[in-house]
């Protein structure tokens, strides 16, 4: 069951109408290492992972959906009211012809989202290592978008999302240690 809270996880501010940046950002919406892939990956793996880390996968999956919502808001704001000329200058004509001003789950190259972006191997260690890699790939993608972006307000939100990837990577690494049952230092309270 989902309980929806009608506000964003982190405030999204965009300085200017900039469809070109939206074209880059869509990678995090419908790309292989984007937020949709992340949310679906964890929400699917959680069923077959050992029970002591199910909660972690559920929590992170939920957070990824809130990130997806932030990315959608960013893309929407960057393209809202853009004229056909601006769409053309940004190289978004194929998207516009196909989808108008609607958002769509596709990557920066216009390839539609594909379930093969997600692995579900059913092996707890294989799945968690996949998740760690996914977080690091998403972190790298955010870095590349920040490198290309000249919008300080947008970058503020992107830097927040990038930091969350780091935290998730940490928690997945800890989950591996839990399954190894080999804490270097076991604390008892």
């Amino acid at each position: 069951m989902f309980v929806y809270e009608k506000k964003l996880l982190y405030p999204v501010k965009v300085s200017s109408c900039n469809p070109k940046l939206a074209k880059y950002l869509i990678e995090q919406y419908g790309g292989a290492d984007g937020e949709l892939a992340a949310a679906l990956r964890y929400m699917n793996q959680r069923y077959t992972i050992p029970d002591k880390v199910i909660g972690l996968l559920t929590d992170i999956a939920m957070e990824e959906f809130s990130h997806l919502e932030m990315i959608a808001t960013m893309v929407f704001k960057l393209t809202k009211d853009a004229t056909p000329d601006q769409i053309r200058d940004a190289g978004l004509e194929p998207h516009y012809v196909n989808h108008g001003s609607a958002l769509y789950y596709e990557n920066a190259g216009g390839i539609p989202f594909n379930a093969s972006y997600i692995a579900g191997k059913g092996d707890p260690i294989a799945d968690l290592y996949e998740d760690i890699a996914a977080e690091e790939k998403a972190r790298a993608t955010y870095q590349y978008i920040i490198d290309l972006s000249d919008d300080p307000d947008l970058n503020d939100g992107l830097k927040f999302l990038r930091e969350r990837e780091i935290v998730h990577g940490q928690r997945f690494r800890e989950a591996v240690e839990m399954l190894k049952e080999n804490y270097s230092e076991r604390k008892v309270f």
Binding site: Y10, R139, A140, Y142, Q143, I146, D147, K159, F160, L161, R162, E163, R164, I166, V167, G169, Q170, R173, E174, E177, Y183, S184, E185, K187
Partner: protein, 78 residues
């Protein structure tokens, strides 16, 4: 350079068509080093934590583009 950024100096050929980047960088965020987080680590104040994206200074790995003028990882001198 940030402690979370490492660099190396790649080979540059005499006839490389793009002006060579003398130094290239990559990020090594704090999750690579922390191990299983110990209890009782220092925390940010809640408002700061919400802004930074983490409650824990030990997990905060900020990023600035290495190509931004302010970071200047690839200075054009000499």
């Amino acid at each position: 350079m940030s402690e979370h950024r490492k660099s190396w100096k790649p080979y540059a050929g005499k006839n490389d068509p793009c002006p060579p980047l003398k130094e290239k960088t990559y990020e090594t965020p704090p999750n690579l080093y922390l191990g299983v987080q110990e209890p009782g680590l220092e925390q940010y104040k809640p408002a700061d934590a919400l802004k930074k994206g983490t409650l824990w200074p030990a997990l905060f790995g900020p990023y600035e583009s290495p190509f931004a003028p302010s970071t200047r990882a690839n200075k054009k001198e000499d």
